[in-house]
Structures are given as C-alpha cells and as structure tokens.
C-alpha cells in the first residue's frame, strides 16, 4: 500500500492509517512506529503512535525532508511481513470500591448490576492500550464490557488521586498523576504508572494489553509500601 503521509507543520509528518479505532489498525500503527524507530535515522526527534496515525517529529537541519518522506514510504511498503510484536499483558492490581472507588455505587445504580458484578466484568477482560496521552503515562484503552458503561460525573472533581481507576462512557482508564477529571472512580491501583525516579518512568506503552486484578484494601496497603521504595 502507499502511505498517506501529511505534513504536520515543518518539523513533523503524520502517517495516516485508515481512520477507525480497531485493534488491527492500531497494531499496524504500533508496528510501523517500532519499525521506523528501529531504523535509527539521524535527525528523528521522536515518534508518537496514536489510534490510527503515527506522528514523526524530525529536525530538518539534520534530516532532509525528502529523504524522510522516502524512508517513510519504504517502511510503510515493507510493512506486511514484520507483524507487530505480540504485546505482553500488564496486570494492574486494583482495590475496588470503598474509599478507593467512591463512585462504584453510582456505576451500580446506573447499570443495575451489583458491585461484585461490576468488578467481575471490569476485571474479567483484557484491554488494549491504543495510545498514551492526556497526562504523562495515561493509557487510552479499549475493550470494556459495554454493560458497565456509565456517563461522566456531572461536575468534575478538581483533584483525583494518582492511581485512580475510572469509567467514562464506554471507556476505562487509570490516572497516572493527580489531576482534575470527571470519570466515575471505581477503584485505585497502588502501582505507579508514572514515576520519574524509576529507570523506566512509564509502566505502560501503546500496543500493550492490560488486565485488572481485584485486591483487598490490605493488599493495596502492602503493595503501596513495597512500591514506595
């Protein structure tokens, strides 16, 4: 296939894939981003994969734009064989309900399910991380059971604690840092999705899969103590 490459100003190009949120297209996106990064072309500043596009930031003083465009064409054409690496599954322990998930009752009321049913449905699936954005380390995930979809809060909270797990419409997500937001909070993980003091500051990356594992408040505290170091 010939790639749809567009200028995004004068220091970036965006490679546009079919505009659809689907695991297959996102796998092609992440695969292309990884392949292109692996080329190690001088003058590539960074590569940002999203749902169905890849933005390549470059330094035109170091990399001629026409060479870049040609390299992108070639990498896109070479796409077929080198399928995307099968992303490993990251397990995220979550203490559901109680002080960690103050909106769980609201999700139950909206869906007509019991708390245990909501937890079972939320933790019973694998989610695909389509991309990171919004705040450092925030995963945009897909694959939630539609039966637990719940609208956002009418009035967003001004501060949501880091690690909070929420539902907004048909989406679920985890807040890596304390931030404002209107998601229905159903639980919290003691894992740090973003820790700038860690050698690898980010727990998650685009293309990976996530599974939530219910834990008790006691396990939460124990893990939190372990994580703190």
């Amino acid at each position: 296939m010939s790639a749809d490459i567009r200028f995004c100003g004068d220091r970036a190009v965006t490679v546009v894939f079919p505009q659809e949120i689907s695991p297959g297209i996102n796998a092609a996106v992440c695969g292309f981003a990884a392949r292109f990064f692996a080329l190690g072309l001088r003058g590539i500043v960074e590569i940002v994969p999203t749902y169905c596009a890849v933005t390549i930031h470059f330094d035109p003083s170091e990399l001629d734009v026409d060479l870049l465009l040609r390299a992108v064409e070639e990498a896109a054409a070479a796409g077929g064989e080198a399928g995307p690496a099968e992303g490993e599954t990251v397990v995220i322990p979550v203490a559901y309900g109680g002080e960690y998930g103050p909106d769980l009752p609201q999700v139950c009321a909206h869906t007509g399910l019991t708390a245990d049913e909501v937890i079972a449905r939320h933790s019973g699936r694998e989610y695909l991380i389509y991309m990171l954005g919004f705040t450092p380390g925030f995963p945009y995930m897909g694959g939630m059971d539609p039966s637990i979809a719940t609208p956002r809060l009418k009035t967003p909270r001004t501060a949501i604690p880091a690690g909070s797990v929420g539902i907004a419409g048909a989406q679920t997500g985890v807040y890596p840092i304390q931030s404002p937001g209107g998601w229905q909070l159903i639980g919290r993980t003691p894992l740090r999705l973003f820790d700038m003091d860690r050698e690898d500051p980010f727990l998650l990356r685009a293309g990976q899969k996530v599974r939530f594992r219910p834990i008790t408040p006691e396990e939460y505290l124990a893990l939190e103590r372990g994580e703190g170091r």
């Binding site: 995004c8 004068d10 919004f134 450092p136 840092i177």
Partner: protein, 317 residues
C-alpha cells in the same frame, strides 16, 4: 543564588523543551519564544537552549546573592538594576546583592532572563523545563513564588567584551514584528471547505483571555467545515503551532499543549514564526498566511543556522 523578592505574574524556568517522551504523553513544554531564549543565552555565553526564566506580562523582582552576568531578551519590559533603567538584549554584570526589578511589558508578552552558567536545577526526563500541569521540572514543578531561591550552576561575575554584548533593535525585535503568522496547511485540511480555508487565511482573529502556555483560544470569522464534517477527529499527534478548530473557532496549540488531540487541525504555524505568536497577548490580533512546507523548512533551517552562528560583537574586531 538568586532570591525571588516578588514573582511577577507568571515566571517559570524553561529551556528548549522536553523531547522524546511524547509517546508516553509527556508534554514538550519549553520556552514559548525559542528565538529570544537563544538570544538571551548567546549574550551570556550559554548554549542556545539553556534553561532561563520565562517572564510573562509583569516581571519579577530578583536579588542576586552572588555576582553574575545576565541578559533579558524577548518582549520589551521596563527594567531596573539597582534603581537604574537598563536595556533589553544587553548583558549586565549584577554585583553581590544587586536587585533587578522587571516591570510590565511595554511591547510583546514574554521575555527570557538568562544567567551566565545557567541555573542549577535538576534535569527531569532530559529537560529543566517546568511542566505546570505535571508538577515537575523547573523549580519544584511550578511557577516562581516569593522567597524562592534559584541556585546557579557556575555564576560568572564578569565576561569578556561586556560592552559588546548587545543585540541591535532589528535583530532582537524579530518576534515583535507585526505581520501575519505563516502556516503550513493541514494535516486535516480536507475537513474544511474551500471557503473555510479562505476565511481562516483572510480573517483577523483576536486572542481571548483564555490563552496561556497550553494554547491560544482565538475569536473571529467562523471557519466552515467540508460537507458532512465537523471538528472532531480520532485523536492524533499535536505539534506546537497546530491550529485546531473544535467548533468553527481556532485554538493554536502552544508549548504546554497535550501530546495528542481530538480536533481537526486546519494548519500549523511554521516554526520560524512561532516566536511572533509567543509574543501575543490577550486582545492582540493574529492573522495567518499560507506557505508551502518546503518553504517553511527552508525558513526554519535559515533561522536555526543564524541562531547557531549568532555573534553579538560584530563591531569589536
């Protein structure tokens, strides 16, 4: 060390930005006006993208608790060193205990205070820039407050050719030129009607009060979408200068923008003209004109090579 006597309206530590982490959702941040940052750094013999104080609309008052050479470039602010008026884009040697008072901006919106040897602040994810939203980088991840103490890495009480460390008006005022900001159309130009693109390029847009380091919300003639299109797209990557149009009115994404966005982008302001935008303030008018991508790249490369080879003391030999 430099002590903050009063912080000004919005003073943050910024350098050339945090590159390489956008795939993890980390905003680039960095100086809004990298041209003026480079000028200020050149006057004090720093690297062009060394961290400096970005000063906004109303400047801080600072006391030098160690003698140090400094320079301020960018928008033109009222400035006094120990009560004596001083010029923009000129290096000064502050003596021990000297007080620098930076008042309101007379022209432009932002200026950069560079100190010889740079600030001794931690490098977080490759940069000293403040991420206000993330609460990290810069000085404790926030804007400066009264009584903050900014440590210096290698303060220089003096540098050679002090009297030649100055840039003339023409050179220093490039970001203050009053002309349309040039743009490269796209990457979602097809979401807009021909008439919509024409409106965008012909119209005058006013910066509203909801404009900050994240983005400039503009107000002006409504931009028409192509038949069957609206302002929403599936989120993709966002660069500085990208002009999003969520519902007919443009928003220009600036230094602290999120890494991705779900609104159609009609155009991107060219890199060489971003400093002009950085010097706009609420109430100012912005106009746009289109150039070809390769022309924009030539302009950027020319500006970069100019800034790299910049010499302040052309006259001294």
């Amino acid at each position: 060390m430099i002590r903050v006597l009063s912080p000004g309206l919005m003073t943050t530590v910024q350098d050339g930005g945090r590159r390489g982490w956008q795939q993890f959702g980390v905003p680039v941040c960095g100086a809004m006006d990298e041209y003026s940052l480079a000028l200020a750094n050149r006057l004090v013999d720093n690297e062009p993208d060394e961290a400096a104080l970005e000063i906004t609309l109303l400047g801080p008052s600072l006391r030098f608790e160690v003698p140090c050479v400094f320079a301020v470039c960018g928008g033109e602010f009222e400035m006094k060193l120990d009560g004596q008026a001083i010029e923009p884009a000129r290096a000064y040697a502050a003596s021990f205990g000297a007080v620098l008072e930076i008042g309101p901006a007379r022209q432009g919106a932002r200026a950069y205070l560079a100190v010889a040897g740079g600030f001794d602040l931690p490098i977080v994810l490759g940069s000293r820039s403040t991420s206000l939203k993330g609460g990290f980088g810069g000085y404790e991840g926030r804007r400066l407050l009264k009584d903050d103490q900014l440590p210096l890495r290698a303060p220089m009480p003096w540098l050679p050719f002090m009297e030649y460390r100055v840039f003339d008006r023409e050179l220093r005022q490039y970001p203050l030129e009053d002309r349309p900001a040039r743009v490269v159309l796209g990457p979602q130009q097809e979401r807009f009607s021909g008439k919509g693109v024409e409106t965008f390029l012909a119209g005058s847009y006013r910066l509203t009060g909801e404009s900050d380091r994240m983005g400039y919300r503009l107000e002006g003639p409504a931009i028409e979408y192509a038949p069957g299109c609206d302002g929403n797209i599936i989120s993709d990557g966002v660069v500085m200068g990208a002009v999003q149009v969520p519902s007919g009115q443009p928003i220009v994404m600036m230094a602290d923008r999120q890494t991705t966005g779900g609104y159609a982008k009609i155009a991107v302001v060219i890199s060489a003209d971003l400093p002009l935008l950085a010097q706009k303030k609420a109430g100012d008018t912005v106009r746009f004109s289109a150039v070809e991508p390769r022309a924009a790249i030539r302009l950027w490369k020319k500006q970069q090579s100019f800034l790299r080879n910049l010499d302040f003391c052309r006259d001294y030999l």
